[in-house]
Symmetry: C2
Subunit: 370 residues, 2 copies
C-alpha cells in the first residue's frame, strides 16, 4: 500500500512565492490527510498532483496564523466542490483548543456555511507547553453561546500514563499526538500502521492437512486451530513473516519536546518531519522564538533513531537554491553524520516504501534519555 | 501626481494559480490603498512591484471569504515587518459591520497581536442589500465582551440624504461608500480627488502690480485681494485653469446597486472597476448568485458615463487566455460599443493620467435613471 508525504508549504511565519506557509499531505490508500493549513494551502494543492476533495482528515499542530489561516478558505472551497445532495462522511479536524471557535467565527462572519460536514476535535494543552505567563486558556471560549450552533466537536485530554493523546485507532493504524514546547502550545502527530499478517503458506497447510475454508481465516488472524485429527496448528507454522507497519511523525513548531511522550512515540520513525526555522549559528534566536535549528532536529532524530529526517518550516531568509539554503543543507548533513536527511521544498513528494518482512518491528518503547 | 490601480487577484469564489482571490491596490502619492484582501493577497503583493509596507488604508467590500480571508495574515506579516519601536499611524480598515469581530477573533485565537496599530471603521448595511431573510445582524456581536480589548473602531451609518457613507475627506480628496445588492450586503467605494488650483500667471501679476508674497498665496487659495492702489484682483484673472480631480470607483460583488447612491457617486468616473463573474449567456445564474455579467457591467458604466471600465472577479472557469475568456472579452467589447473596456488580469496595472485642464469637471450629480 503506497504511502507518501507531499510538502505544500515549507516556509515559516508567512507565505512567499518561493515557500508557501506550513502544510503537508500524508497520502495513504487514496486518502489525503492534511497537516497544518497556512494561507494559500488550497492554491498549493491545485499546483500539486493531489486532489483537495480526497482530504478526509486535517491535523493542526498549533494556532499560529501561518499554520491555520488557510483553513476557513479551504473548507469553503471543498464545500463548493461537493454536490449538495452527496452524503459524505464529515471531515475530522484535530488541533489545539480554540480551533473550533476560530473556524466557526471565521465561517459565521463570512457568511460561509460549508455544505460539507466537519467535526473539530480539540486537544487540551498543558501550561508547560509555552513560556511562563504566555498561556491562554480558551476552554471557556464561546461555550454555551455561538458555538452551540457550530459543528460538533470533542475535547481530548492528555493521557498522563502514555503522555499522549489518542486521536484515532482502527484495525490498520493509530494516530496519536504528543506535546511540544513553542511560543504557544504546539503538538506533534504520529501515524503508525499496525503490522499486516504474513501470507498463508498454502503448500505447508496442504502438507499438514488443513482443509481450505474457515480455518485458513483463523490462522491468518493469528489464532491456533485444531484439526479433526486432533493435531494443533500454530499460525507461525503456516504464515510468512508479518509485514511491519510504517511510522510517520510530523512535529509542529518547537524548540523541543515536553514530557517523555514525543520520544516514546517517535521511536524508530520511518519518516520524521521536524522544523528547522533558523541555521545552527542562530540557536539562541531560535530558542527564544520557540524554534529549532538543523542541529537540534538532528539530535532529536538521533535520539528516536528515526530512519529518515526531513527538515521544513524554514525562515523565508532561506529561499531554495540560495547560498544560505546551501549552508543549511551542509549543516543538516554534518549534524546527521551521514544519515538520510532531506530539506523539504514546496511540492516535493517523499515516498515511504513498504518495509521488508524481515525488518525489526518499530518499537514505541525506546529508552528515554534523561 | 501619479495614480494607478494594480489588480492582485481577479478570480471569484476562491484563489487559483491563474487568478488570485479578490484584491486590488490603488496607489497615489506613494501610498497604497488595498481594496479587498482574499486569501493569498500578501503573496500576490510580493509578486508585484508594490510594497506591502506602503499600505495605509484597507477597504473591504463585503464579508465573503474570498474577499477577507487574506486579511488576518496580511496584518500579521505587516506587523512582523515593522520595527517595534517605530511610531506609525494606524492602518485604517473600512468594511461591513462584523469585520472588526472577524479580525479580532482571528488574531486573538491565533495568538497574533500585531505590533502595528489598526482601526476598523464598520459600515452599517441596510436589509435591502441582500435577499429577503438572508440578512444577518452583527450589530450586537461581542459587544462589551472580547471586543472591548480589541483595537478601536467606529461605526458609520448611511447618510440618507446622499444615500452614501462618508469615510474620509481632506484637502485633496474624499472617499465615500455606496450600497450594492449581493447575497450578503456589499459596498462600492469612490475615491475622488478635489480639483487642484491652477498655476499663478506671474507675468500678469507683475503687470497688475501685485507684489510677491502673501497676496500670491491668497489668490492661489481662490480669494480675491485688494492692492494698496485700491484695485481688486480676482483669482480667475491670474490663475490658469484648475486641474480637475480624478475619480476611481471600485464596486464589490453585486447584481446591481441599491438606492440612487451608486449612480450619483460614480458619475463620470475616470476608472470604474466592476465585477463580471459570469458570461452574458448566464445572466440568470449570475443574478441568482448576486453577480453580474459583462453586459450588466457595461450598462452600469454607460449609465454613469464612466470613461473607462475594467471588469474583474471572473469565475475560475475563465482562466486568462482560454477560449471562454476570449468570449468574455468579445462580450465586453460588444456591450460597451467601442468604449474603453479592459478585462483585468492578476498583476495588471492601469494608470489614471492627470486630466487636461480644459476637461470638464467630473460631476457627481448625474440625473438618475428611474
Amino acid at each position: 500500500m503506497s504511502l507518501d508525504v507531499t510538502f505544500l508549504g515549507t516556509g515559516a511565519a508567512f507565505p512567499s512565492p518561493s515557500r508557501g506557509a506550513s502544510a503537508l499531505v500524508l497520502r495513504r490508500a487514496g486518502q489525503c490527510w492534511l497537516f497544518d493549513c497556512g494561507e494559500g494551502t488550497q492554491t498549493q494543492l491545485m499546483k500539486s498532483h493531489l486532489r483537495a476533495a480526497k482530504i478526509t482528515k486535517i491535523f493542526i499542530t498549533h494556532l499560529h496564523g501561518d499554520h491555520i489561516f488557510g483553513l476557513p478558505g479551504l473548507l469553503c472551497t471543498l464545500s463548493l466542490q461537493r454536490s449538495p445532495d452527496a452524503s459524505v462522511a464529515p471531515i475530522d479536524i484535530y488541533g489545539p483548543l480554540g480551533l473550533r471557535s476560530f473556524l466557526w467565527r471565521s465561517l459565521e462572519l463570512s457568511h460561509s456555511e460549508p455544505l460539507l460536514p466537519y467535526s473539530v476535535h480539540e486537544l487540551v494543552p498543558t501550561q508547560d507547553q509555552c513560556p511562563d505567563g504566555e498561556f491562554r486558556d480558551f476552554s471557556g471560549l464561546d461555550r454555551g453561546e455561538a458555538l452551540a450552533q457550530a459543528p460538533p466537536g470533542t475535547v481530548v485530554h492528555l493521557d498522563p500514563e502514555t503522555d499522549s493523546y489518542l486521536l484515532l485507532e482502527d484495525e490498520e493504524l493509530s494516530v496519536r499526538a504528543f506535546r511540544l514546547f513553542h511560543r504557544v502550545p504546539s503538538f506533534g502527530f504520529v501515524m503508525e500502521e499496525k503490522p499486516r499478517p504474513g501470507k498463508l503458506k498454502v503448500h505447508i497447510l496442504q502438507e499438514l492437512g488443513v482443509p481450505p475454508g474457515p480455518l485458513y481465516g483463523e490462522l491468518k488472524r493469528g489464532r491456533a486451530v485444531e484439526l479433526s485429527s486432533g493435531a494443533r496448528v500454530l499460525p507461525r507454522d503456516v504464515l510468512s513473516l508479518p509485514v511491519p507497519g510504517r511510522k510517520v511523525c510530523v512535529l509542529g513548531d518547537c524548540s523541543g519536546p515536553v514530557g517523555p511522550g514525543a520520544l516514546r512515540l517517535c521511536g524508530q520513525a520511518d519518516l520524521l518531519v521536524h522544523e528547522a526555522t533558523l541555521a545552527d549559528g542562530l540557536q539562541d534566536a531560535a530558542r527564544q522564538r520557540g524554534h529549532s535549528t538543523p542541529g537540534q532536529a538532528a539530535r532529536f532524530a538521533a535520539e528516536c533513531r528515526a530512519r529518515r529526517l526531513v527538515l521544513t518550516h524554514f525562515s523565508q531568509r532561506y529561499p531554495p537554491g540560495g547560498h544560505r539554503h546551501r549552508r543549511l543543507q551542509s549543516q543538516a548533513k554534518t549534524a546527521t553524520a551521514g544519515h538520510q536527511v532531506t530539506l523539504a521544498e514546496d511540492l516535493m513528494t517523499i515516498e515511504i516504501p513498504v518495509k521488508n518482512k524481515d525488518e525489526d518491528f518499530a518499537t514505541t518503547e525506546l529508552p528515554v534519555k534523561q
